[in-house]
Symmetry: C2
Subunit: 766 residues, 2 copies
């Protein structure tokens, strides 16, 4: 058989060589522009392998179904588009393949656009087998899109897109104008690789339209894609138009949900939502509006709660404004299977009736779902769940029928007629264990138009021997869902071989600087005992550990307001057992003031920081997924940990997680911890502040607002098991009661109090 | 040929006789119920001719396409459904024909419903060749529907519906529930006869869905219907869902518009809007929301302005609430022809930016149309119109191309590129004169997807020799649009032969009472000179004139608060040259206190009214299209003209027009004129008060609010050329500046002032 393939491939190569004669081969931007300007149907423009910098491709042409115009790489993956570059298409039957966008960003509003002007859109065109990697704008607030659809019948297929850190969805379908409705675009077989947490809104992986076009028929299909660690924000896919189909995708460890945010009559069918049984940020499907059908989906170890619960059916706002929350009506949730997923059915999500006194009436989500059917679903819990159904508000407009649960003996509250059964589970591959037996005696509820649900999750016909749940068969099933070669560009893999970290031992400041420059990402720099005098910032632009097992003091006396450690894009620093001493005007750690085009990271362990202006200064638009201080002392500093420059109140903040554990703060005069998020938006779920087991003494003396720990707008705050003594402030913290802010077991003396306000005044974001 | 038809008809009769053998003939309600309960596919249930009272038909059955179940009249039009009766259908392939609903009303929410329970709807079913006439609830405020669609693929065809006076659309398509979306209902070939002005909202002839289902696809077709004097309210057809088709209908002298009130992507194609060149209430098409196509329509002598202009494109509310005004986007207005229709293109209709200070932000219509095309239209004005295009707000989001005007030499302001041409007109029948020549050199603008506009108004292909305007051809066209036999039930005509009025001369009170009872509607009762002593009310329940050419005094001393003339449903009274005198506690004219199931009317000319409690007392829910006092004196009454009981602030009022012309009011102590409409709704256009050439002396002495003429909430008020003297009030009137309230040339002495307030505080209706 292999022999046959070899011959076949040789044949293909010969054929393609033959064809090459009619190809137009270009090797420079000017040649490309020239070739594009002359292209006629059937032309194949081939970009010679190499790097093309600062190239803005306008691919305008009229191909036909039988004779499209193609623009492809000589070798797929060997044509690099770098610098300030972009691709725009308009016309008909255009095909682009094999390009690799990297080391740069687009000077336009998008990297790839299916139009060249508002009037000139592409139709029947495709971008396939391409990669866009880390092609980020220099500033996080400078939003853009990587792929923007216009026109009709266009396709993004077999591409790999990952690493977007700036604002704006990775892919958006635009529907403004009759030329872009009923578009039947296809987003298929792609691999959406990791999109880091953005910190705030505008980090969707795919957005279908916007609220302004939410009345338009889109008919976009998103199918057979792998979404891996798409953590940008709470919405992985934000469907905002009508009649979209979201089918057979794998959502793997992605911190978000598929959300029918606006628009109606979306089919979410046969998708896999795979979590790890721990991370509460992995979500499922959040439902708003009318007429959606959620069928045949499998939820596996999804632990998301409330907005992120496997099935989150929201309350609407009566007569909602266009950009807010319409009531859920006429929704069908049928034939889904839930395995070890907590409280999979949640109703009245987002209800805020309790806040009626402080919010405008047009913000109150009090309209419960109507004419909604939750039927023929299966829940299997290897550890029982007492609350598989949660009613944040009454589910009195919901019909429950023929739903089965195996709860391993745990009693269920509020079961809505769930039938308790003993189910048999089986491994179906990719470590998925699902119930396949024990429910055949349950007659599926036959709702209106249910005959359109013709198949199960695996494509098996439901016509004869129909059963409840996502999977009909108990035959040997071996899904290879997580085989990444099935998705994305065939020439690209995001699997990196684990590399042994190299440890560089240094004994002097100059050696430290030299080794730090030379080190590869992931390396460790180990300092021998002694004092290291530094007058210039140590540049951190990769993953690096700086540690010692001896007595080490880094003494930094660089320019005022310069940083001992200058955190740059990609700079992820772990400092361990180091004493860091300034001359009072410097910063121990700081980011760049601008051009933080990718995230940084910081962890400080077993260390001492003293005599700085700022222990940590994070500038606007800089973002870290995690910042952690453990077992570290910060003393005699003018300022402590400062992350408060995201003041434009669009919901942004500077780190997803800020953790202070077992630390000591002594004589930090102001901004001891200052962590800010501004703008009211019920669906933004960060940031996260944990301050525990720490001691704060003689701090906050210069704090103008007389609050020791400033956490305004941060959604999750926990202050526990700390000691506060002799801090001359009015409040230790002002917590936000309506959000997940808490404090416990703190010992306070001569330090003010911790106050909780139920509703903090916030600027509305929308 | 005739001979052939005779034979053919005989053949048909024989055939149908043959078939009758398999018919199930019923002649009573119980037989009908029994037959219906047993009906199987192919059954023909025939109602024997006669009257069926208080019959609530539940027609539940399962027919098939080839073998429907039918329920028909033995002779179409000879089966009368009367009393408290209704018809409900559910199942499949059911057909009803030949019934006449009259002399009664429905005890349910609808007269005919295509469902028998919320779960049980009809599909593929029809009601055809039926009539519903004046089948009104007893009270105007008791809203209902005459035909309510549920399910899918149902049809109302060849029916005549007229005379609905109570609240609620005549026909509504209901979309709540997946069983009723994408319904493809057909409302075709019907004759919607006169629907009188209702006085306030909720008087649509057809409503497609509601704002709550405005996101749902309806796909309802309204085609080939005649709408004759459908004057219920400002909306004749209120389309509130998506993808509806309104095609080839004739809107004849109907005081309202076709309005795309909610929902999107409606096609309004090939309709005729026919006015009389005078009445400003005859409207055209009012556009709100996204994606509508308005093509091939003919507007003839339509004089509606602003909301009622031929093409009224509204401003939207940014991020509008669900039940308010979405922005107009992606709308196409192409290939329409306008003849002698004033200012046919109006943009920014409904803008209320000027009221931003007094209205909530969510009420301000400031969002102008976007991505809208107004192209390929023709305007012909036999008398030129200086302002064919009016921008209430800027039309900067509108593309104007290839529009032609023949303005008979009158200069045009703000022409937006209108091409001025000399056009030739021709008579195309039904008194319609349209331009057919003189524009063939204008290249039609070819917008996106314009190839879907395949035909002109008359169904002629646009493929070759396409031209602008609604009508392609200048060949002999003879439309017989207003031949009523083409619409509605084939056995019913609403044409009434003009009948000579009979004049009954009376000389005594008893004779007056007797003749009044005996008179036919339209008759005249002529009083000989003398005093007529009356102790009981004269009942007016038909159209009647009571007049004299001599000196006549009616002296009424019936019970306190009883009326000399008791105006009942259908009671339309003209009083001429009569002195009417009470004993201070009675009413000269009053309606029933309840059960005013149809409108009344009142005109008083050359008369004197004195010594009554009320000159006119109109009770809640009573409504008259017009009330007129001319050349009449009202003196020594406790109250004058009282029409102020519609206080539930739903926009209702008691008369459309109240006219007081050349009258004298002396010593009327309070409620001299009290005419009230409550509830803010920008689209309600009544009532109308004209007070002119009249004298008010020593009036209003007991008026609690110290306003002489109370007009609160009335939209059109004109007070001019009157004399006010010695009226002990603070204000003569408090006018509403933002509406069409005006006063001029009044002579005022010792009577307070006329004050205008720009924005009166009103309860929002929605």
């Amino acid at each position: 058989m292999k022999q046959f393939f070899k011959i076949f491939i040789i044949f293909l190569v010969i054929t393609s060589c033959d064809e090459k004669k009619s190809n137009i081969i270009v090797s420079s931007t000017s040649e490309l522009t020239d070739a594009l300007s002359k292209a006629v149907k059937g032309d194949n423009i081939v970009l010679k392998n190499g790097t093309y910098k600062d190239v803005n491709i306008k691919f305008v042409g009229e191909g036909t179904e039988d004779a499209p115009i193609t623009l492809s790489a000589e070798t797929a993956g060997e044509v690099f588009i770098e610098g300030e570059s972009s691709l725009e298409l308009s016309g008909n039957y255009l095909q682009v393949s094999g390009l690799f966008f990297r080391n740069g960003h687009s000077p336009k509003k998008n990297v790839i656009a299916f139009r060249t002007s508002p009037k000139d859109v592409a139709n029947h065109s495709s971008v396939t087998n391409c990669v866009i990697l880390d092609f980020n704008n220099l500033e996080r607030d400078k939003d853009n899109l990587w792929v923007q659809f216009y026109g009709k019948h266009n396709e993004l297929s077999n591409c790999y897109l990952a690493g977007k850190t700036n604002g704006g969805p990775t892919v958006r379908v635009d529907l403004k104008g009759n030329q872009s409705i009923r578009n039947y675009h296809k987003i298929v077989n792609n691999h959406f690789g990791p999109r880091p947490r953005k910190g705030g809104a505008r980090g969707e992986t795919i957005q279908l339209g916007s609220s302004f076009t939410s009345m338009s028929p889109s008919n976009t299909t998103i199918a057979n894609n792998l979404f891996e660690e798409c953590n940008g924000e709470v919405e992985i896919i934000s469907s905002k138009t009508n009649f979209n189909i979201i089918k057979n995708n794998v959502f793997y460890k992605s911190e978000g949900s598929v959300v029918t945010r606006h628009g109606n009559y979306v089919s979410v069918d046969g998708n896999y939502f795979i979590g790890d049984g721990e991370n509460e940020n992995y979500g499922g499907i959040r439902i708003i509006n009318t007429g959606h059908w959620v069928t045949n989906n499998l939820f596996y170890k999804i632990k998301g709660k409330n907005f992120r619960s496997p099935i989150a059916i929201m309350n609407g706002i009566p007569k909602s404004p266009l950009n807010r929350y319409n009531q859920v009506t006429d929704v069908v949730v049928a034939y889904n299977t839930f395995v070890d997923s907590d409280s999979p059915f949640q109703f009245g999500v987002g209800t805020n009736i309790a806040q009626a006194a402080v919010l405008p009436k047009s913000e109150i989500r009090s309209a419960r779902p109507l004419r909604t059917e939750v039927v023929n679903n299966i829940i299997y819990n290897s550890e029982g769940d007492a609350n598989p159904i949660i009613e944040h508000d009454k589910a009195d407009g919901v019909t429950f029928k023929s739903n089965v649960i195996d709860n391993n003996g745990v009693a269920i509250e509020n079961d809505k007629g769930l039938l308790v059964k003993d189910l048999t589970v089986t491994d179906i591959g990719s470590n998925l264990v699902v119930p396949v037996n024990g429910f055949s005696d349950v007659e599926p509820y036959n709702g209106f138009d249910f005959d359109v649900i013709t198949e199960d999750l695996l494509g098996k016909s439901r016509k004869n021997n129909n059963q409840i749940g996502a999977i009909l068969s108990d035959e040997n099933i071996n899904l290879n869902l997580l085989d990444k070669t099935k998705y994305g560009a065939d020439w690209f893999s995001n699997e990196v071989e684990a590399k042994e970290a190299t440890t560089h031992t240094v004994a002097s400041a100059s050696e430290l600087i030299e080794k730090l420059n030379a080190a590869e990402s992931g390396d460790i720099i180990d300092l021998k005992a002694g004092n290291y005098q530094l007058t210039n910032s140590l540049v951190v632009d990769k993953t690096i550990t700086i540690q010692s097992s001896e007595e080490v003091t880094l003494i930094y006396n660089g320019a005022a307001n310069s940083a001992a450690f200058l955190l740059q894009p990609y700079g992820k620093l772990l400092v361990k057992n180091i004493k860091l001493k300034g001359a009072n005007t410097q910063h121990a750690f700081a980011t760049l003031k601008q051009n933080m085009s990718n995230h940084f990271g910081l962890e400080v362990v077993d260390s001492e920081i003293s005599n700085f202006n700022y222990a940590l200064k994070v500038y606007k638009q800089a973002f870290s997924e995690e910042i952690t201080f453990t077992n570290t002392t910060i003393s005699n500093c003018e300022n402590g940990l400062e992350l408060s420059e995201e003041t434009n109140d669009r919901g942004d903040y500077n780190t997803e997680y800020l953790t202070v554990d077992n630390c000591t703060f002594n004589n930090v005069k102001q901004n001891v911890i200052d962590y800010y998020r501004g703008g009211y938006d019920e669906s933004t779920i960060g940031g996260n502040l944990l301050v525990q087991n720490s001691t704060f003494t003689n701090c906050g003396a210069s704090e103008k607002n007389r609050i020791l720990l400033n956490t305004r707008g941060i959604i999750n705050v926990s202050i526990k098991d700390n000691v506060f003594q002799n801090n001359k402030v009015k409040l230790i913290a002002l917590l936000w009661g309506a959000k997940n802010n808490s404090h416990s077991n703190n010992t306070i003396s001569n330090s003010g109090i911790i106050k909780t306000e139920e509703n903090l005044k916030q600027t509305l974001m929308y």
